[in-house]
Symmetry: C2
Subunit: 343 residues, 2 copies
Amino acid sequence: MAVTMKDVAKLAGVSPSTVSRVLNNSSLVKEDTARRVMEAVKKLNYEINDQARILRTNSSRLIGMIGAGMENPFLAKVLKGVENEARQRNYNIIYGDSDGELKLELKFLKIMKQRKIDGIIIISANIYSSLLEKVKESEIPVVFGSGYINDPDISCVTVDNVTAAYEAVDYLVNNGHKKIGVIQGPYSDAVASAERIKGVRLAFRNHGIELDDKLIAEGDYTFESGYTGAKELLSRNNDLTAIFAFNDEMAIGAIRYLQESGISIPRDISVIGFDGIDLSKFVKPALTTVEQSGYELGSKAVEMLDSLIQGKPLSNNKIFIPHKLVERESTEMHFGEVVGKRR
Amino acid sequence: MAVTMKDVAKLAGVSPSTVSRVLNNSSLVKEDTARRVMEAVKKLNYEINDQARILRTNSSRLIGMIGAGMENPFLAKVLKGVENEARQRNYNIIYGDSDGELKLELKFLKIMKQRKIDGIIIISANIYSSLLEKVKESEIPVVFGSGYINDPDISCVTVDNVTAAYEAVDYLVNNGHKKIGVIQGPYSDAVASAERIKGVRLAFRNHGIELDDKLIAEGDYTFESGYTGAKELLSRNNDLTAIFAFNDEMAIGAIRYLQESGISIPRDISVIGFDGIDLSKFVKPALTTVEQSGYELGSKAVEMLDSLIQGKPLSNNKIFIPHKLVERESTEMHFGEVVGKRR
DNA sequence: ATGAAAGCGCTAACAT
DNA sequence: ATGTTAGCGCTTTCAT
């Protein structure tokens, strides 16, 4: 079998405890013995057995992350932020992709508990219902990253969805748009999508515009659903001048449908997205979008979680990361009805 | 502390060994005692401590995956395939994103070894040099997933890069293109990019076309580098009729640059990508590309690795996943020089 | 069919 | 400053 501490101890002529002390650079070990131990480590090519250490210390330096759909580039950035910040802090990540299925999320939670993770980060739309309950009763430190959780015990970090969506609509209205279609997330998404809808409604109300249900289509954050969402909206409203999609992929899918239908963007219809993924700069027309940093979200989540794990209470356990409306080519001013302009 | 096997044993009136047996549904335990044990498990809400089991059995059911750049949607699909297949087989994934830095990859390898991973999957361009050496000497079962590894001991699964690139060029030439620019991966990428260049050269040679170095630009698989790569190619060759980019992102970045320069696609220049990410269907013009399935690559890698871990030798340790040229809107026939057609 | 006992490799009192 | 001892929670011979 592999080299153990005992082997190192024997070679260095000390006890295993001393080796352990050296490796954890703990309480004063004589410099000379430390050197001897390190030499033995080198010579034997010794590498500590983390699993034994974990069992003994009851600390796995493992953070679980449950996310819904890694092919979403925004989530990928979050994961990257998590992974990077975690590594700086000497944690490793064990990732589970639930695709938004509650059943899978619960399964991951169980697996991760058994693996004795030190904490967990959850980026999911299913944060009400049983998942939240199970997490709370598991007593594992947790940070949610998909929206605002209205529970004082639960830490979360997220963009301010309500305000951000409000600003997107506000921007469109200020540019002369009154007939604005929305492609939202799945109805089952009780967090990000629900919060954004709230912001949309607020903006409409404040501008004295009615938000007819005909103006809302359901999507699932994929290109495809943006495509079909736009189709749906167009068929139900022949006077649309703008579309707000709840992520960039859907916005791009929508643009694709509009272009195929011979509709010019932004001349005929303005389109605005959400997230600001890398791609948004490179599509044609370049996408106007509400930008947020997934990387920052991820690293912030780890920062918070690390505090929680160390038992340090957070002075603020509800954190908003910044967002910014970035104006590019897919939106423009709308100057009232122009006869025969379209269709 | 948490509930242990001992607690369960006491409640069920049996010994810990029996509980262990029941939990591993091992050698005949009387049905009645098994039921009693399971009842106790339920009642106490007992969950096994994986870390203790790992220490004892020396099997962590953990697979390490080292990848370079998760924001690459193709890699994201690979990870998803890995994660899914792994879960079916009762493994968990511990993922490290090296961003292609060899130093980080070596660090991850070390960390993962200490965590006693059962096997490792590496999707990286740095597979020659020290990484391959270190992995071999670590004796951890490994599967490479970024290209063909010319070492009989090393298992790999990949698209057939040489043939796929050959076919892309072949397709362009058969469509009348003679001046074809290439945006390749980083020079440091000794695998996928190098193999594809090989295929490109082969195709050129077989068609009796010279491959001038002026026709090759270096990219790094990002949109940006596709954009600047196209710029570079155009500035050096004013008679280009086609561009082959080594992934879809670069192809899309290239298209963006061309469009900004008033060049029409595919009328003036045809563009072909590689990978077939979801997005390729939804950009305008939709991208012609060499499609491969990242998901399949990932799941296949786990399948192979699982065999290796179980000590079952692979009948074939070099596997190619299928690829297919998908013709969409970004390429078309080229009919010789048309004066004043462009610029 | 079940229990007793040993031990995986490490750390942390406690003792010296 | 270092060694001795016990034990983390589990599995696995070896008995019975």
